[in-house]
Amino acid sequence: MNALWMRQIGAVLRLEWKKTFFNKRAWWIYMLAAGPVSITLIHWLFELNRPVSMARHSLGDDSVGYAAMFQFFYLRGAIFFGCVGIFANLFRAEMLEKTLHYYYLTPLRRELLVAGKYLAGLVTSVVLFAGSAALSFLLIGRHFGPAYNDYLMHGPGLSQLGWYTLTAALACAGYGAVFLMCGLIFRNPMIPAAVVYVWENLNPFLPALAKKISVIFYLRNLCPVEVPLPPPLNIVVVDTDPTPVWIAIPGLLAVTALLLMYTAHTARQGEISYGE
């Protein structure tokens, strides 16, 4: 990659951050990221002030509780919808606002425009959601004091923190590529987003082969703590062998790269018509 391309991608990043991400309309995305941090903060303060007479839960309970929050709130909720909000709008909002032509009138390869926009979205979503996941993890057991420090530094805590942060970042990368493509191809990216959402949430109940055609399947396998499903859901869930990490991560990145290549190709062929 030559110096000109680097400068151009840098310019796209700067412009996207300036005009899109420090935008009042993105408040709900910040709320999605801040929500679990606030809850774990309240949890910490509540546990600190809890009367000694009341029964306390264990560090293991908090670990499972966090795993459930990560899998059901972060992966299936906050990161999914956050990525819809961030990535689907990178092209679509510019088409609706009739400003995409300013980009198309610069001597910028369309592939670099896609790369720049994707990177801008990725950095933002990773900072927000991987940062939020890491912060929540650090806060959830804080009330255990030195025991939690020990869990982090000498127990499995630090490794779990690393896996949760990596999984959140990979989720942003995978869902980001899906929704960036949807925003460029579909006039209303909310419809494919809804279809993807239903598919991803049906994943535990799908047959083994169909399960593997999803982002959540690989991400769930990367989560360090298993979440036991309550009955009767545990009966209808179809068990499959977990995908090894060395397949899950490169596989997810390969799918991401393929989606980005298709998006870049579409952008290269694209025209400005704004639906008129």
Partner: protein, 319 residues
């Protein structure tokens, strides 16, 4: 004999058609646009914006080939260094000041920070927008938004400037300054392609015009040349002289004179003739024979407005 200009200095369309589904944008357009100010004139839906979008690579031809100074439109990396486009859309990226708007898109050209700043300031100054540079574009008046778009279009110093209704929303002073800028650019040997519905302004600034109707090029070239090609419409000529009624009497003996009427203060004779050359010969004869004192002789309908009415008329709707 003047050598033919090479394609490196022309915007060329070779039988270019563009369809939007089943809707015609432009059809079989063949043009060679030389440097200077060229106006695109035609009613709404004639294909002006389609032609401009084709020139700037925002859309591609369905059929045919085209190039801008030798660069085909499917190479935006090269084309967009040559072309600046002030589009019709009154839309701007949110949250940017006038300075940021120009500076941010200049950075995409791969220029360094200092050069981008210097070019941004120069463009702002050229359009008298320096004072408003640090205000958000969203707070600008319509005229200021038009000027900041123009500043953005010229900031990278393009060889080809394409302007879709560039005078819209400008007050008379800003209009005059902008027209002067177009003239300066045209005189410097650059291409300035303007679409405007203000025909008398088109007339004042254009070196050549392209008349479009229903997606077809109806006429192109210098306006006087285009007018002389419209044979079916008698030419209007205004003669100011001391004895217009005597002249009119002589003219009515000629077959090519369709109409003659005395106007204004009684010294103006407006006539319509199917053969302008024959009229001028006759006028010379009359002057020699009768001593007619002729103050001025001028074509009265070789302007864009008249040519537009003759070729497109009211059929095409509003301009």
């Amino acid at each position: 004999m003047t050598p033919a200009p090479d394609t490196q200095s022309l915007i060329t369309f070779n039988s270019v058609s563009r369809f939007y589904g089943e809707v015609l944008g432009v059809n079989r357009v063949s043009l060679s646009i030389p440097p200077g100010i060229t106006s695109l004139v035609g009613p709404n839906g004639a294909g002006k914006t389609t032609l401009m979008n084709l020139m700037t690579g925002l859309i591609r031809p369905t059929q045919g080939e085209m190039s801008v100074l030798g660069v085909p439109p499917d190479h935006p990396e090269r084309l967009c260094r040559l072309v600046g486009y002030c589009a019709q859309f009154d839309a701007f990226p949110k949250g940017l000041t006038g300075f940021q708007f120009i500076y941010s898109y200049l950075l995409l050209h791969g220029l360094g920070d200092a050069e981008c700043r210097q070019r941004t300031l120069a463009a702002l100054e050229k359009l008298n927008m320096t004072e408003a540079a640090n205000r958000p574009v969203g707070a600008y008046s319509k005229g200021m938004r038009q000027r900041i778009k123009l500043a953005q279009a010229i900031a990278h110093d393009p060889q080809v400037l394409v302007l879709d209704e560039p005078l819209n929303g400008l007050d008379p002073m800003a209009r005059a300054e902008t027209i002067a800028l177009f003239r300066e650019w045209g005189a410097a040997g650059r291409h300035v392609i303007v679409s405007s519905h203000i025909l008398h302004e088109v007339d004042r600034i254009s070196d050549q015009v392209i008349l479009l109707s229903h997606g077809y090029v109806v006429a192109e070239g210098q306006i006087q040349g285009v007018r002389s090609e419209v044979k079916e419409q008698p030419m209007q000529i205004l003669v100011r002289c001391d004895k217009p009624s005597d002249l009119a009497a002589r003219l009515f003996q000629q077959n090519h004179v369709v109409e003659a009427k005395i106007q204004g203060d009684g010294r103006n004779l407006l006539l319509r003739t199917a053969d302008a050359d024959a009229f001028y010969l006759l006028l010379n004869r009359v002057i020699l024979e009768t001593g007619l004192d002729v103050e001025s002789v001028a074509p009265a309908d070789d302007d864009v407005n008249s040519v537009y009415q003759y070729l497109i008329g009211y059929e095409g709707g509003s301009v």
